[in-house]
Amino acid sequence: MSEVNHSTAAGQTLARNQQIVVFKLGQEEYGLSIDQIKEVVITPTVTRMPQTPAYVKGVANIRGNVIAILDLEEKFGLVRNTDADFKGNNYTLVIESDEYKMGILVREVPNTLSISTSSIENSIFTGDQQAEQSYIVGIVKLEKQLIIMIDIFKVISEQEGQLFKKQDEVAA
């Protein structure tokens, strides 16, 4: 995805506007490029699956498609709010690519935001080399907000590796 951004940015003016979808995970705000998201739906009944990591909540039926539902809060190790205003993960972002189709649990209806591509800071150092190089695309700094832009498909492919590792361990 980041490659696509690069090429389009290079093709036109540098200060191009980009639509992103912003959602809250833990206390942080995360952003996804809008073209990675197919729709936002009210979370359907999720069927738990065995032999998957804990952050894979299971599978659900979304318009006849059975897709995996992920909890990124659990995946990123963000502290879960246990206070009273937590009403559950009511919405699901449906992510789609040619290869993958899956849902991400969020608590509130996500916002869409139009930002200038130049406001994405690509070179960041978080101390976690792995995460930086894989799924964190950059940081968007707005007046009162800091949005972590992620490439969801890289998150998934990282998981995939973990899943297989886990299975190998089980088999060994």
Partner: protein
Amino acid sequence: MSNENKDQEYREIFLAEALENYTEINRLLTVVEKNVHDASSVQALFRITHTLKGNATGMGFDKIAEMAHVMEDFFGEVREGRILLGNEIFTSVFKAADVLGELIEAIKTPRDVKYRGIKTKLEIVIKNAKPSADKDSSAAKTQPGNVVASKENEQITTLGTEETPEPEVNNEAEHEVESTNVTFSDLVQVPVKKLDNLLNLVGELVIERDRIIANTASGHSSNEYSRLNRISSDLQYSVMDVRLVQVGFLFNKFHRIVRDAANKESKVVKLKLEGTETEIDRNVLQVISDSLIHLIRNSVGHGVEKPDQRKTKGKPEEGTVTLSASSESDNVIIKIKDDGAGIDPAKIKAKAIEKGVISAADANQMSDRDLIGLIFEPGFSTMDHVTAISGRGVGMDVVKKALDSIGGTVNVDSMIGEGSIFTLSLPSSMAVKSTLLFDLENQTYAIPLSYTESVISIYKSEIHKAANGLIAVHLGHTIHVVFLADLFATHTEPKKKRYQKFDQLHQEQKLEIVVVFFNGKRIGFVVDKLLQQKEIVEKPLKKPYDSIPFLSGVTILGNGNVCLSLSIPGIINSILNNQTSKTINA
């Protein structure tokens, strides 16, 4: 009458394929003409002519087979770099392709096509490329065929002045392209992907229908939906029927495989085909095709003895491998039978102990049948030396895995000195599965009926802890009892105690147990509540969670919830693996 129809059908399929091959050959030739160093196109040409040759041989179109064979040889030489492509050679190759096209055309409208001239010319080119080696084979190639010798001579003499016959051939080729379009009209080739998609949609429709009927069953009379029910069922079966192919289509390719395998081992083997008109889902056939090839090669390589050995045993020198197919309710049974030496359980036992597949103590307790079953264990081979076609010890376990993946089974029956029978039981369709639905921790799961032996209800007090497992005895069978809930939990919470659920139960609690039988193991799964028997349309899992061993797929229930369909082979293998790793640790 039906046989004639089948023949006609085969001819049409062959014709469509052959014409496609012919078009592809022409396209690739023009590519190669522009760039003679295009190795991948030459390779593609080699492959296409090879396929065409194989198909033509299978159908008994000897002329096409001969022509394709020469072209295959030719492209083989080009690929090896022994023939350099020049203008002159291209003229010949294009002409050869045209003649090939004419021969294919001649199936539809029988007429005499002169093909030997160009064939011989190519043969000469090939012979010149490798001066000494293959005189025999090319001489042999010209021999078969029933065209009168004088005609052949006549053709050869015209070789020098090839300019004259060529325009005529070209005209004919053009003419032929026109009539070709007509052939396509009564046979449509559809990519499998489109069929899969269609089947998926029909599956959706059936699920949706069930949902609507379930929701409104109370209010309206069920009559209202009977038409919808019937039409959608008919639609579902029609789509499934489209995906069915005759096993003969695959079986016919085995003549060559048997011949090659027998030749390499200097054995004489004939292949007998039975029940070639049996229909089976195309995807199932695709999954098992490699396994079948392997089993057939094994029958020739391991089963059938050398002619002199057979003679001393009082058998005919020629061994017979019989490949038969038949339908049995929802399943297709494929049998591979040879009249060879049979499998010696004692040999298997010795080998298994030597290779460390099982311990000597275990082996002594096993029945002959179980011992023979060991050939499906990974890394097992009884051949003392590795041969070209069989005996690498990879394969039988792969066969088993392929069958497991589609919910099929494989069994071996063998009599020393009389031969072996491998019986494959395959689902005739991969899309619809008969399952038993049950509840477990407020979720509904489906378990395929093909592995389900019985459903029993027993008290907790009848289940006993034995070593690391739980055991119950029912109707004389010892059943290994597994709490599915615990099994599913061990993967997310490895520290959870193995029998937590069991220990929590009251002594007099009645337990519902689904008993499955797979791979010689009888295992009972404790579930919360049994629901009903149901035909489900199974969908594969989507990436990236498409390879969870415990699950074979998912389906959507009438209430819109997702139901997981369990993979019995996956679960049982995982249970077995856990046990073996435990014993190693201990």
